[in-house]
């Protein structure tokens, strides 16, 4: 036990989830000098990178270049990627405990938060996360269908995901054809009859979560006019006072851009993107076939908490907005993993600084760790996962030094490989992924696009020469 981490007895770590948090965890472990470590990373999809591949918008290619960092990590000799291997289906907690000294869960937030309003499940009402996964070619959403023949679409939320959805709906087919958007989505969007897109924020312009580069992009769309209602662009007294007391350059700029949009004259473009503030949906209204027709909105006003955070509260004023398609973009939410203690209130694994805790009594569970969104909740940007993973790895190393690690009877790398081969003979290695990557890029080149994605697991396996 004491010499785990030495060359003759390397530390065996399993990382479940191949997104940014998983890769940064591996990176921090590799950075530790005097530590011999062998890492196996699992993902239920054949392709790695999590939301960098399936979440970042197709017209934001530069953000995706972070994968070069993950490539370097993955190509270390003591790193193995096992794609298309699902925790809870192909391998289980007991398997991992008998093969690894430490296990880190970095599974992210797979589902969406609900609004909990009547009509949320009407036809035509979807989580934005599904639309995003669909247009980014996530195999689980390949067969989803969105009625883009509707002229009026509302996106509930004003974070960057909401803005991505609105922007993609407002892009021309020519603009989209230059991106790595999934082909089936490109085709569907080519025939889109969407004319009016609304982004609905429950607080005011100063509080909206979208960031300035994203807001600016909305004002530069080729064929969509952006607009804000003048009365909603005006700051309320509380926001004004807050900004005067704590003048934040970024917020001042945000408000400036939004107020400019309120003054803009429409240039007669084909589509119109309207940013609404201080409104919350209270009901989605459908027709007799269960198809959405409109949404009832309540107007909000802001109040300050004791700590000074400006929060919305409803007034008695309502309005009805006719819409045929609604995307709710009010956050992602984590999904519990079998055998792993979960904090249901907040949708995260029960943990302290990344050490997974059992609930009664609250104590660390030996050998189990977590990092990323499933640890702290869906917040921050890609890079936020780096210091997050660093904290978890510090705990892992402290525990290793004190001998608080699992006692795997099959710690050899080959033993794990044999188990995985038995459970999922069609697993994808990192070299397999590199081959898929090359194929996607080559196919894309022929069409002047960064890549042409495979969107079905069968296609990927076939491309690798594995028969289904």
């Amino acid at each position: 036990m004491t010499d785990v981490g030495s060359a003759l007895n390397p530390l065996r770590v399993a990382i479940v989830g191949a997104g940014p948090a998983g890769f940064y965890t591996a990176e921090h472990l590799f950075r530790e000098s005097d530590l011999a470590v062998e890492i196996d990373m699992f993902d239920r999809l054949p392709t790695p990178f999590g939301l960098v591949r399936a979440g970042v918008a197709p017209d934001h290619q530069k953000i995706k270049s972070v994968t070069k960092v993950y490539d370097r990590i993955a190509q270390q000799p003591n790193f193995r990627f096992y794609g298309y291997v699902e925790f809870g289906k192909d391998i289980h907690l007991d398997d991992l405990k008998t093969h690894y000294h430490q296990i880190c869960f970095t599974t992210g937030a797979q589902t969406d938060r609900s609004l909990n309003i009547p009509g949320e499940d009407l036809l035509g009402s979807y989580p934005a996360t599904e639309f995003v996964a669909w247009y980014n070619g996530h195999p689980d959403f390949r067969n989803n269908h969105f009625d883009l023949s509707q002229e009026r679409v509302a996106v509930i939320g004003v974070g960057n995901v909401a803005v991505d959805v609105a922007r993609i709906l407002c892009r021309t087919p020519e603009e989209l054809a230059q991106t790595d958007i999934a082909d089936h989505a490109l085709e569907a969007l080519r025939h889109s009859r969407v004319k009016e897109v609304y982004l609905l924020g429950r607080r005011g312009p100063a509080q909206a979560a979208f960031t300035n580069p994203e807001i600016k992009e909305m004002g530069e769309l080729l064929d969509a006019d952006v607009t804000v209602l003048p009365r909603e662009a005006r700051l309320d007294l509380l926001s004004q006072a807050d900004l005067e007391k704590n003048p934040d350059k970024s917020t001042l700029k945000k408000v400036e851009i939004l107020q400019e949009y309120a003054r803009r004259q429409p240039a007669g473009k084909s589509r119109r993107l309207t940013l609404r503030f201080l409104v919350s949906p209270v009901e989605l209204i459908g027709d007799e076939t269960g198809q959405i027709q409109a949404m009832k909105l309540v107007r909000n006003e802001l109040y300050a908490t004791e700590a000074g955070t400006l929060r919305p509260k409803p007034t008695a004023e309502y309005e009805t907005l006719p819409v045929g398609l609604v995307f709710r973009s009010v956050g992602y939410r984590g999904v519990p993993l079998p055998g792993v203690p979960f904090n249901d209130d907040w949708g995260v694994i029960l943990n302290e600084k990344g050490r997974i805790l059992k609930s009664e009594p609250r104590q660390p569970v030996t050998g189990l760790y977590t990092a990323g969104w499933i640890k702290r909740g869906p917040s921050g940007v890609i890079g936020t996962n780096k210091p997050d993973a660093a904290q978890t790895v510090r705990c892992m190393l402290e525990d290793l030094n004190q001998g608080h690690i699992l006692n795997p009877i099959h710690a050899e790398v080959e033993a794990a490989k044999n188990l995985i081969c038995r459970r999922q003979p069609r697993y994808i290695s990192y070299n397999d992924w590199l081959r898929l990557d090359e194929l996607e890029v080559t196919r894309g080149k022929k069409q002047g696009r960064p890549r042409l994605k495979f969107t079905r697991v069968e296609e990927m396996l076939a491309a690798l020469g594995q028969e289904t």
């Binding site: 953000i63 960092v69 934040d248 908490t305 004791e306 700590a307 907040w346 890079g383 936020t384």
Partner: protein, 143 residues
């Protein structure tokens, strides 16, 4: 980034003390737990105050027999509290303006955790690091 994201990693273990306990017991508890403040709960587990190192030091200047006093005599009773939805900017402004270093967090009137100035500093540092990292990657096209 809000209080919820800090509490998710920190846990809900809030160290508390009764109002009738002595200052001597209070400082022993702070020392044992390596913290700077204790939440004061009455016998019905209601929040009645907060006592910090600073309160004790200030009292000590005026009277040296401070150790035998009950917590209730030195504690701050007008406790500023937060909610899980509070964002880090507001909390950090509040702590700066009101010179408080600990904020009990209530959800539906229940104590669910405590945020210290140390938590805020760490979160801001990590947020800053994360954003700079991401921006640099974007600007340079690779990391």
């Amino acid at each position: 980034m809000n209080v919820k994201n800090i509490l998710a990693i920190k846990g809900r273990n809030v160290i508390t003390i009764g109002p009738d306990k002595s200052i001597k017991e209070a400082i022993a508890l702070m020392d044992a737990q390596n913290i700077g403040a204790l939440i004061v709960l009455d016998e019905d587990q209601q929040l009645v105050g907060i006592i910090s190192e600073r309160d004790i030091i200030r009292a000590f200047v005026r009277r040296e027999d401070v150790l035998s006093l009950p917590v209730s005599q030195l504690m701050t009773t007008k406790v500023i509290t937060g909610v899980p939805q509070d964002d880090i900017h507001s909390i950090s402004n509040l702590m700066t303006e009101h010179r408080v270093r600990h904020l009990p967090i209530l959800s539906n009137g229940q104590l669910v955790g405590i945020i210290s100035i140390g938590d805020v500093v760490k979160r801001q540092r990590d947020t800053y690091k994360g954003e700079v990292d991401t921006l640099q990657t974007q600007l340079m096209g690779e990391a």
